[in-house]
Symmetry: C2
Subunit: 149 residues, 2 copies
């Protein structure tokens, strides 16, 4: 079969993620926020906070971009920093009450997206989608794509 954009898994993955990212950014901008802020609010543990060093990998962000995002969220009063009792060299990022409130709004947006999509699909189709993404992740993490010598 000829490989076209329509039958290219990476193309569909990228185009779909870019469309979703654009949509979240547009929605977030209505509240003076950004997609990155929404996801960081949802990534931080709302009860215990999260070690700053754990956030980069979870967000898939470089240290400098993350540090800029944290600074901007601190200035907006969404988060604050606290010494990490378990590790003197790292810092805990915690949600303020305002941050917790915005986390709830962000959660509703994410739920609305997921529910709307799932309503258009059968349970089996959703399950296959998760199987496909898990398959891709496994191949990538285990370096099976370009190191299969």
């Amino acid at each position: 079969m000829k490989e076209t954009k329509e039958t290219s898994i990476d193309h569909q993955l990228r185009a779909t993620w870019q469309a979703v990212a654009k949509m979240y950014n547009e929605e977030a901008s209505k509240y003076g926020s950004t997609m990155a802020t929404i996801f960081l609010l949802l990534t931080i543990d709302k009860h215990t906070g999260s070690a700053s060093t754990s956030l980069g990998p979870k967000m898939g962000m470089e240290a400098t971009s993350l540090s800029r995002l944290l600074k901007s969220m601190e200035e907006k009063g969404l988060i604050y920093r606290e010494k990490n009792p378990n590790d003197g060299r790292s810092v805990l990022i915690k949600l303020t009450d305002f941050g917790k409130e915005k986390r709830e709004t962000s959660k509703q947006s994410v739920l609305q997206f997921n529910n709307t999509v799932k309503q258009k699909l059968s349970k089996e189709e959703v399950a296959v989608f998760f199987k496909v993404t898990a398959t891709i992740n496994n191949l990538v993490v285990n370096k099976k794509i370009f190191n299969n010598i």
Copy 2:
């Protein structure tokens, strides 16, 4: 059902795309290239070239990032600019012979990824994956997620 990262479509979409992007960037860096370069080489029509104005939307890139990428690819001798005979105000981006050669290498990398993934899945599973991404794209493009009043 409780919504968790594992059952969140947008989370899987984002995490999977980020993993794939990281993999392509690592592979491209072996040849002193980047994922963006790979995709731009594949996006430009190898016979007729492509109008510069058409590349941003196809790549999902902002004008400034695209202009920086085109400049760097021009300096590496991968592309050149030509007056667009159909539109005096826009420019055609064309591949040099070296660019065409690199386009072929890029194509092989993308094919290797797609083939490796497809070998792990049934035809039906791949078809469902495309149905799900098409469903998401349609909902987003038709603004059915956050404007469903």
